[in-house]
């Protein structure tokens, strides 16, 4: 069942740049969908439209039922430098005025799931880039989202850190049955993580092609993974 449907969404910025034109796609509940495309193709704009941070000029963004609880992860960890990991990750719950005890419990659990059990009292400056990103994801998880929007979250990380975070993300999304819309410009990442890859064209962005990947493709050494990788790569080349 479709959780979210975008139909003919267009967005032009104040400076006249046409970011998106005729963007249409749907996302099913529990699905992991990647938006893949070159820089400046409007991937991030699409994510911000879905989050409701900006409004489309035309077209519609329709939810099946009320809008679900959202989580958002940016390319940068986007943490408050004056607050420790626990306080940072607790932000969504604090904003909902949840009691401190309950919020702390839920946040501690989210940090533990991201492997940060012993770093709750660490300040961002004391953490590595990968750990900061883990705090950022724990913050998104603490709110108990049904839909996670991720804007190139691992682009700035080194390869081993990125692969570890990819695996953790997949596990958590599966355990919590979270739907994920994942923006990336990495073919590797999109092919590894996704049930479905939506390849976008350069500006103004729209969906050029759609590749459904087989469920068994999540072994980086498997034949089916390299086959998926090949299909995504050629789709991206055609879109450019």
């Amino acid at each position: 069942m479709s959780l979210l449907t975008l139909s003919n969404v267009a967005k032009r910025f104040d400076n006249g740049t046409e970011a998106l034109a005729g963007l249409s796609f749907h996302v099913a509940e529990g699905e992991f969908v990647s938006l893949l495309g070159p820089s400046g193709c409007g991937k991030s704009t699409a994510l911000r439209l879905i989050a409701g941070l900006i409004a489309p000029d035309s077209g519609a963004i329709a939810w099946a039922g009320p809008r679900p609880e959202l989580g958002f992860v940016f390319q940068e960890p986007t943490l408050m430098p004056w607050a420790d990991a626990l306080t940072n990750a607790r932000l969504p719950l604090d904003l909902k005025n949840m009691s401190r005890a309950e919020a702390d419990g839920r946040t501690q659990a989210a940090l533990a799931r991201m492997g940060l059990k012993d770093f709750a009292r660490a300040y961002p400056r004391e953490l590595s880039g990968g750990m900061k990103m883990r705090v950022s994801i724990a913050r998104a998880l603490a709110a108990g989202p049904k839909l996670l929007l991720m804007d190139e979250p691992f682009a700035a990380l080194d390869e081993p850190t990125r692969e570890a975070l990819n695996d953790d993300l997949l596990r958590l999304a599966r355990e919590d049955r979270i739907t994920v819309i994942f923006v990336t410009h990495s073919v590797m990442e999109a092919s590894y993580l996704s049930d479905r890859v939506l390849v976008m064209s350069p500006r103004p962005g729209r969906i050029k092609s759609e590749i459904t990947l087989p469920p068994g493709a999540r072994d980086r050494l498997s034949i089916s993974f390299s086959e998926g990788l090949r299909r995504v790569t050629s789709a991206l080349q055609e879109a450019a």
Partner: protein, 261 residues
């Protein structure tokens, strides 16, 4: 070792300069009404200590009152600006006018309006006028420097304007505000001194007035003693705000961190 040198080197320089000063004054028989020797200044300080101390307290009170008023007005206005772009557009030019008008020029007006009966209030107001702008302008900049993505994230989680202000904008502005407070602390002292000069004798009782009075009597050593106390007061104010800055920022802010290589 480095820390010891940081203290010893300036101290050694200061002491040798004082000794040279003392030596030159004695060797050339420079009269005390032109340039008193450091020993004469020390005497003047000791002889007039209670009077000078009372004056010091008076100037300190005016400075702190002026600073507190500037802080409340500056931070309050900056918060109002951060909530309403329209208000900022309307008022900011007037804040600039206030800043660029030399306070010496408006001090006599203020003294007349507030009245010599409330001389300390008038002095504090002048001190506040001098200290107001750095607080306003730095805090305004700080409140605007909040991470756009964090603002978006907070909006996504349904944060109110008040929550964004309290949880994000104010902490972001804190280093800017603390920097401004160090400047404004010194400026309110300058404002207080200027105000006392303008107010003249008979009303004000602060250190600046002691300087004017001692100058009229050609008691140059007492002038220097008062000047010394003013300098120490300025240093104490700066040190206090530096300490506050360290206390509030050292856990997290780049400025307070040692570079890790």
């Amino acid at each position: 070792m480095t820390r010891l040198l940081n203290i010893l080197l300036p101290l050694a320089l200061g002491l040798s300069l004082l000794m040279a000063w003392e030596g030159i004054v004695a060797a050339r028989h420079i009269p005390p009404y032109v340039l008193p020797a450091p020993s004469a200044i020390a005497h003047a300080l000791a002889n007039n200590f209670s009077t000078l101390l009372l004056s010091l307290l008076s100037t300190l009170t005016v400075t702190l009152e002026g600073f507190a008023a500037a802080w409340i007005a500056g931070v309050g206005t900056a918060i109002a600006f951060s909530q309403s772009r329209m208000l900022e557009r309307t008022l900011y030019p007037y804040a600039v006018v206030l800043q660029v008008t030399p306070v010496v020029a408006i001090a006599p007006l203020i003294l007349i309006w507030v009245g010599f009966d409330h001389i300390n209030a008038a002095l504090a107001l002048i001190a506040a006028l001098v200290a107001f702008f750095p607080i306003l302008s730095n805090t305004t900049l700080g409140l605007k420097s909040a991470d756009f993505n964090l603002v978006d994230l907070m909006r996504l989680y349904g944060a109110s304007r008040w929550q964004i202000l309290w949880r994000l904008r104010l902490p972001t502005a804190l280093p800017h505000l603390l920097g401004a407070m160090k400047i404004a602390g010194g400026l309110s002292l300058i404002g207080a001194v200027v105000a006392e000069f303008v107010a003249g004798s008979g009303t004000a009782t602060g250190l600046a007035w002691r300087i004017v009075e001692a100058g009229n009597r050609l008691e140059i050593a007492t002038m220097f003693a008062a000047l010394l106390l003013l300098g120490l007061l300025g240093i104490a104010i700066f040190a206090a705000f530096s300490l506050l800055e360290w206390a509030l920022l050292h856990r997290w802010h780049e400025s307070a961190l040692k570079q890790q290589i």
